[in-house]
């Protein structure tokens, strides 16, 4: 298909020419998704590790719920956040609708269950191996959790990257709560949706290629950094 080659050359051209509009939406996409990931990590890792270690009635139910929430459709998250932030909703007074912050909130809600669920699984697998040894050494619950988070860092990093992939790629939630406003809330994915609806398939595809490259760059950077850190830790 000629669309593919023309999309590729378009993507290259846009990147090399440093197209201002493109740079703006790339920056916004990264800003929103990276912040959402940071927040989701701050919530999801403690939540996941506590779920792995703690024993309480209803734990199975909570784990099933968190696992199920991984499948939350972005549109549904968008709708819920819209209803909360709408001027007719409870948090309307905050004037957050159609701002990057609204998109940040939606993506955080979308991604937190993914990080929490994957972290829970990673920590629980590790706990099976470590539990007796750590208790033998005299570790308390808090110390066990901290140890699992640190020793499970490789898998946790993968969980965080999975969350990032979901955040940077989703369109349903940011479209509804961001409104795809030019220069304000237009991200890579809403721009792709817009160009697709204009029938600008080559440009849409070019943006898709750039989005992929972006996700690749972030993954490579994180893996590279963690590899360096790991080597430094063992030096």
């Amino acid at each position: 298909m000629s669309d593919f080659s023309s999309a590729l050359s378009k993507a290259l051209y846009l990147l090399i020419s440093g197209d201002a509009a493109l740079m703006e939406i790339i920056a916004l996409s990264l800003q929103v998704s990276l912040s959402a990931i940071a927040l989701a990590t701050l919530i999801g890792l403690p939540l996941g590790s506590v779920l792995a270690v703690a024993r309480f009635p209803g734990r199975g139910g909570v784990i099933t719920l968190v696992n199920a929430l991984m499948g939350l459709p972005p549109v549904v998250v968008g709708l819920i956040v819209y209803m909360l932030l709408s001027n007719a909703g409870p948090f309307g007074v905050l004037n957050l609708l159609y701002t990057p912050t609204a998109m940040l909130i939606a993506q955080t809600i979308l991604v937190t269950p993914i990080i929490a669920a994957l972290a829970r699984q990673a920590c629980e697998d590790l706990l099976e191996e470590y539990d007796e040894q750590l208790r033998s050494l005299g570790a308390g619950t808090g110390q066990i959790i901290a140890t699992l988070l640190w020793d499970g860092r490789t898998r946790l990093l993968t969980a965080i990257l999975a969350g990032f992939g979901r955040a940077i790629a989703e369109v349903g939630a940011v479209m509804i709560v961001g409104g795809n406003i030019n220069h304000v809330t237009r991200t890579m994915t809403t721009a792709i949706a817009l160009e697709t609806s204009k029938g600008n398939l080559a440009l849409a595809l070019a943006l898709g290629v750039i989005l992929l490259a972006l996700a690749f760059a972030v993954n490579a950077a994180v893996m590279g950094l963690s590899g360096t850190a790991e080597r430094a830790a063992h030096a």
Binding site: E129, Y130, E132, Q133, R135, S136, L137, G138, A139, Q143, T147, D151, A233, H234, A235
Partner: protein
Amino acid sequence: MPDGSRRPEPDLLEVRGVTFKAGGRMLVDHIDLALRPGIVTVILGPNGAGKSLLLRLMHGLLTPASGEILMPGAGATARTRRGQAMVFQAPVLLRRSAKANIAYALKLRGVSRAERNARAITALEQAGLAHLADSPARRLSGGEQQRLALARALALEPKILFLDEPTASLDPASARAIEGVIGDTHARGVKVVLVTHDVGQAKRLAGEVVFLNRGKVTEISPAKSFFKRPESVPARQFLAGEIVE
């Protein structure tokens, strides 16, 4: 039954009427046992006898269904575990360097940052692992891993050291190295409690033998008399290399 078991204040640790059940099976069946200082106690018995369970019960990793584990002056198990250390059959090492594994254990015991580094290095030297201090622990060989686990346990300076078949998966040379460290540890006055099903190892190390079969202690004898003339039928069969009833 050793006469020390009825004394009100145990020397080190005393097991009184302890049972442990799982899945409706009595896996540890009313065991009485007093650990006395000055000798190596070997818990001997066939596979599945309940040796590991008994060790975990004494170390406080399992809670007995009935009976009690007594220690001098102490009530709370969490605190009492501080005077103990345990090495598991398969060493569990954390995903960090050899040195960091030891430093980690010391940190849990509240040793200051500066001191734990020095103590970790000393422990590695004593285990002959100083050259591997910064290697990732999980990349060491099986023998080195077990020596590291032992070094980590010893760095805690325990009063009682529990060892669960520490040489079961090692080659003879590595096993001999571990046995050497166990001997030295005993010589330094640490109470060693060793679980094994290896009669040769028991002969080399035991001061007294606790023979366990199907969750029950069939006899507790000084090593010399045990290997010469075991009192219980299961122990006799075991030493004769027969299938134990």
